[in-house]
Symmetry: C2
Subunit: 339 residues, 2 copies
DNA sequence: CTGAAAGCGCTTACAG
DNA sequence: CTGAAAGCGCTTACAG
């Protein structure tokens, strides 16, 4: 093989020489800091002819900017890429970052070593800001990063209330209420298949469910809720528990679409028809919801837009624009066949 | 809000001062270019106490390295993140890149403007190498990038034979043969639901199918193949065409698992049972294959490992190690319930 | 092994 | 608006 060598890129020096001006002048004109000088045209032409692009390392050394931001996930590597929620968030994030001409880097932190490397990476000046997309438990990483003095936005409400930590989330409480309300208007005994108790979206959806029941005078309903992982299997097993506990149930609010599919499996296995005997409402409105049999009535959260907002919030901070620190996007009930 | 300011990072200068040596010496010791000097310990301690990390922009300016590589997809943005194939490739790529301490950047090129920006980005020195993950049609982008003098690896066989362009692929020809052979051993009339004619994996799988038929003395079998998109719908529609054309068919080699699911839908709709009346073999072995009803007999390609190999091949080029330029990973038949 | 010095390519006060 | 000059933080021949 021939071996490779980077083609030497043209420098500001060479552009200046070709245009017959100083390096400083060429630099100012190309960065738009010199309005309408005599030399403007000559410099632009020289740059175009040479295919000049500023060397980013040199620029970064002066400006202390990298023009790169990272999306960090601290889930175990396995799940991230195949999770349709993250996949869609990422789409929005990419869109928002690209629209403002920054570079998106992708980082997975799954070990102590990874955490350490990320810190090194930041101290080294690689990143202007970070977005975090983890939901499990309380994570100290966002705070640790903020202590380094760089902007951070969290995707999803953080565990501890912290007015300084910017975040974007869907209105999970409202969504939980809407789902519960829809079923309570139509069914006699409604239960909740909740997500993991240590994840804020699960907590908020459950809070919405509880709120709606309480609003209708239903109290002491804790035994109507069972927590489980956000998966088909989790939904199936939680529903089995609830069926044993409340054989009369005829409405299920599931905390995710996958869980709703599991709930339908469990119900069907016990001879209950959906939606004839039991109404089931999902949450998220991922592709699975439409593909399910029957198609899922579900609470839609605008996942892609959440990604965009995360990117925008971060970039606003980096650029020193003031704006909201917390964004809560509305959720909406989509009625299909399952309830 | 308080506004933010980057915490000034410690410099080599400050480490040197604290250790009582020159900047040059400190730099050499920290980069391992000075073996066992008197000062070694003092410098390491000073660096640890200060939390020193080399400023990457300054380093990059000298070394002409960015220590970052990019995975580039030129599909329209929509499909990439949700495609389980790319999701899994990306997992492997991330793993391989992280293992060698580089940074992975993710780039989507969906317009002329995006292409231009990518070129700028490269000329600006942001990237040490690129991986391409597009399959549709002949794409000039990898060549354009290589012309800039930086290493490139393609994920999947490129359209034009080009010994200089490194690539990683699964043995699609072998997989196509295996699928056809398996069915031909058991069935009387086997057809092929092929992928898009302009995509190399589809071409190679079909070539394997044709080869196997020819090897058994079956000629003039072009009318046993119909091309369609790599989707459930594509598989369904192609199968309908084949059923009209060859009502006697009793074996289907599908070019993807999604297509196999579509084939099963079409067959079932026409009253054929799978696998009793017709055997169906998929390709890829994505999660869908196991979840399908019946579970798919399919040709497995080691997708994640492909990602790893792509990363390794690229990093080997960047590091100047010589090695294979083309890697073909074996495919294996997984027998489940559909054939 | 060590230090003084040059230089990577850019941006930015400082004078004019 | 323009130019000469300093400086960002590092690496790396060059002498010793």
């Amino acid at each position: 093989m021939a071996g490779f060598r980077k083609v030497p890129a043209p420098t500001l020096e060479s552009v200046a020489a070709r245009a017959g001006v100083s390096r400083a002048t060429a630099g100012r004109i190309l960065s738009g800091k010199a309005g309408r000088g005599e030399n403007s045209k000559a410099v632009h032409e020289a740059a175009a002819e040479l295919g000049y692009v500023a060397n980013y390392a040199a620029r970064s050394l002066m400006t202390r900017r990298s023009d790169a931001v990272a999306f960090v996930v601290s889930e175990p590597e396995e799940s991230v890429f195949l999770d349709p929620f993250f996949a869609t968030v990422l789409r929005g994030v990419h869109e928002g970052v690209a629209a403002r001409e920054r570079q998106l880097t992708f980082i997975i932190v799954s070990s102590e070593h990874d955490r350490h490397r990320l810190q090194q990476f930041i101290v080294g000046g690689h990143l202007d800001g970070l977005m975090f997309g983890a939901f499990h438990g309380a994570d100290s990483l966002p705070d640790a990063v903020r202590a380094l003095g760089i902007p951070v936005v969290q995707c999803g409400r953080p565990h501890e209330a912290d007015d300084d930590l910017a975040f974007v989330d869907a209105d999970n409480v409202g969504g939980g209420r809407a789902a519960a309300g829809y079923l309570l208007d139509r069914r006699a005994f409604v239960v909740h298949v909740a997500g993991p108790a240590d994840m804020t979206p699960a907590q908020d959806r459950r809070a919405g469910f509880d709120l709606e029941l309480a609003g209708r005078g239903l109290t002491a309903t804790q035994d109507r809720t069972v927590h489980a992982p956000f998966t088909v299997q989790g939904g199936r097993e939680a529903t089995e528990v609830l069926l044993d506990r409340h054989p009369q149930l005829d409405g299920v609010v599931a905390a995710s679409d996958a869980m709703a599919v599991g709930a339908i499996q469990a119900l069907t296995a016990r001879g209950r028809r959906v939606p004839e005997d039991v109404g089931v409402v999902g949450f998220d409105d991922v592709p699975l919801a439409e593909a399910a049999q029957p198609p899922l009535t579900t609470v839609r959260q605008p996942i892609r837009q959440m990604g965009r907002e995360v990117a925008d919030l971060l970039l606003d901070q980096i650029d020193g624009r003031s704006g909201p620190r917390h964004v809560l996007l509305p959720t909406t009930l989509r009625v299909r066949g399952s309830a």
